[in-house]
């Protein structure tokens, strides 16, 4: 090589370029996500907890079934029970969401990322896209497996249901949607807070602590506040029985969407306004 050709400025940044940088960033983020062990672990753990804890809880019901009173039997939600592992699995997928960008802030590699793709909103959008896709697929695998195994166990007392029954398919996909939403909320919190431990603490506060606090409120405040929380929305989504104090599926999706979009919007503003 004898001479270096100085690059001419590329075509002015139009929508074509914007799409191009986004696609390139998605490919890059996918490589990043799949190439660290912690990702693989959090995905495996998410599935294992969803399935394992669900099976355990179903087995526990089967063991106690004969001692349950008729009202409890009537209220029993076979779908929701088999998916109850989500309460714990959400923490694993939420941590993955945090790590997707939190680890870049911790190591300082976010600066390498932004130097390669200076459109920071594009980077954040690409990370969120890859994360959402992975979380949804893994969530769906976990939920379908947990449902299947759970129903086999519950069939021991002939209380299992099938995917064709009312609201069942919606609940199983609802579980995957909820897990995806938690991952995205964790991601946005980490983008805003820029510290992994802080973002994990904030996420756990939202999905674990707020529901407990809202329960402590006097009626009817407890239900009114609970209805606005992502955890309540998630619970409504992955059960088939709409109890009066629980949101309808449509409302639940709206509540989740508002949380996801609002935190993501703050993340986008934060990432473009601050030095990195």
């Amino acid at each position: 090589m004898t001479a270096v050709i100085v690059n001419e400025p590329r075509s002015a940044a139009g929508p074509e370029t914007a799409r191009g940088t986004y696609r390139a960033a998605v490919a890059s983020e996918w490589t990043k996500l799949r190439s660290v062990r912690s990702t693989v672990w959090s995905l495996v753990v998410t599935i294992a907890i969803t399935v394992g804890l669900g099976a355990l809880l179903c087995a526990a019901v089967v063991a106690r079934w004969d001692r349950l009173d008729p009202i409890e039997r009537l209220r029993f939600d076979a779908t929701g029970r088999s998916l109850a592992g989500i309460f714990l699995a959400q923490l694993a997928i939420g941590v993955l969401g945090v790590l997707v960008i939190g680890s870049e802030y911790t190591t300082g590699s976010i600066r390498t990322t932004f130097a390669a793709t200076p459109r920071r909103k594009t980077v954040v959008a690409a990370k969120a896209t890859v994360l959402a896709a992975v979380a949804f697929v893994v969530g769906a695998i976990g939920c379908f497996a947990a449902f299947g195994i759970g129903q086999v166990i519950l069939q021991g007392k002939h209380v299992g249901v099938s995917l064709g029954d009312t609201n069942v398919l919606r609940a199983v996909f609802g579980g995957a949607i909820y897990l995806t939403a938690v991952a995205l909320i964790g991601f946005s919190l980490a983008t805003i807070i820029r510290r992994t431990p802080g973002a994990i603490a904030a996420l756990f506060a939202i999905v674990l602590v707020l529901p407990i606090l809202s329960n402590a409120l006097p009626s009817p405040w407890d239900n009114n506040v609970a209805k606005l929380l992502p955890a309540t929305a998630g619970e409504s989504l992955f059960s088939t029985r709409a109890a009066p104090d629980i949101l309808t599926a449509t409302h639940a999706v709206i509540v989740l969407a508002v949380w996801v979009v609002a935190t993501f919007a703050v993340a986008l503003i934060s990432v473009s306004r601050r030095d990195s």
Binding site: A24, T31, S35, S103, E104, R111
Partner: protein, 308 residues
């Protein structure tokens, strides 16, 4: 070309970069020199759009860095070599960067070979030594085959072998006609590689000139040996020189060798030795940065004025 105009960055009460104006010329190695805390890293971060200037602008080939969709083709930078996810392999790190700028996988293999990491490219970078991390950082900078390269303190903490490797690499990159912008707090490093110098202290530009001119800008001293030390010293002082006694000779500041010799001759003083002592690059650096660090040198504005 990189051009800064009134570039300023304030962090709270710290003025890290203070109205820098400079142009980094294409095809030469420009050394960015200044003591620790002078604002070199901050300046480079602003060039890369990582920090937003408090005031002023900086452009790369006429536009702001953040407006370049795939900037790795235009500027390759090494800022913090160890800012990596420790469990990702070097190959995947470079691949992710390549994909973000539409660079081929083949190019990833090429740069890995170029920096000599082929045998360890599959290993997690957390296990890399500082020198290997530095090589990986350079591989990343070279990914897009950019005409402009920017390195922040590339030899910091390296062993002699690593330093030599980087020096040779810089030389070969410069021979290919690339623009190289290289920071260091060590003058000796610059003496090895740079053609042009930007000297900064406390965020301000102290000098922007060729290495030769920066060195030549100091007057140096004249050493004169004579049996009549006091007599000659008085004569030279009368002509405005600063004279100090060194062993049994005089060291003269402020007059050149010819004037000293003429003065001795006119006063019939025997001279046994008359030596012009040129200022070393190191001396020039200390002279320049001392002024900015201590503000004791009333010559600061004068220095800056001289240099333009």
């Amino acid at each position: 070309m990189i051009r800064a105009e009134g570039l300023t960055k304030r962090y709270g009460s710290t003025l890290a970069v203070d109205h820098l104006d400079f142009e980094i010329q294409p095809g030469v190695v420009t050394g960015f020199l200044g003591p620790n805390g002078a604002g070199k890293t901050t300046t480079m971060r602003m060039i890369l759009g990582l920090d937003a200037p408090t005031a002023g602008t900086v452009t790369v080939n006429g536009r702001s860095y953040v407006d370049i969709p795939f900037p790795l083709h235009e500027v390759g930078a090494l800022l913090e070599a160890k800012a990596l996810h420790p469990s990702r392999s070097a190959y995947n790190h470079l691949l992710s960067l390549a994909q973000s700028n539409r660079i081929s996988r083949q190019r990833v293999d090429v740069v890995i070979d170029m920096v000599g990491l082929a045998d360890v490219a599959g290993r997690p970078v957390g296990k890399y030594s500082l020198g290997m991390g530095q090589r990986l950082g350079i591989a990343a900078a070279l990914l897009g085959d950019p005409p402009i390269l920017m390195f922040d303190e590339p030899v910091n903490g390296l062993d002699p072998e690593g330093i030599l490797w980087i020096r040779n690499l810089l030389k070969s990159l410069a021979l290919e006609g690339r623009t190289i912008f290289l920071s260091s707090h060590l003058m000796s490093e610059m003496a090895q590689t740079a053609d042009e110098l930007l000297v900064v202290g406390r965020g301000r530009l102290i000098a922007a000139d060729s290495v030769a001119n920066v060195v030549g800008s100091g007057q140096g001293t004249v050493r004169v040996e004579t049996p009549h030390l006091d007599e000659l010293a008085a004569i030279l002082r009368a002509r405005g020189a600063t004279v100090t006694y060194v062993d049994n000779a005089l060291e003269v500041h402020g007059l050149d060798a010819r004037t000293v010799g003429d003065a001795a001759f006119e006063n019939r003083i025997v001279v046994h030795e008359l030596v012009r002592q040129r200022e070393s690059l190191e001396d020039a650096y200390f002279r320049l940065t001392d002024a900015s660090v201590d503000f004791h040198a009333a010559a600061l504005p004068e220095l800056a004025g001289d240099r333009r």
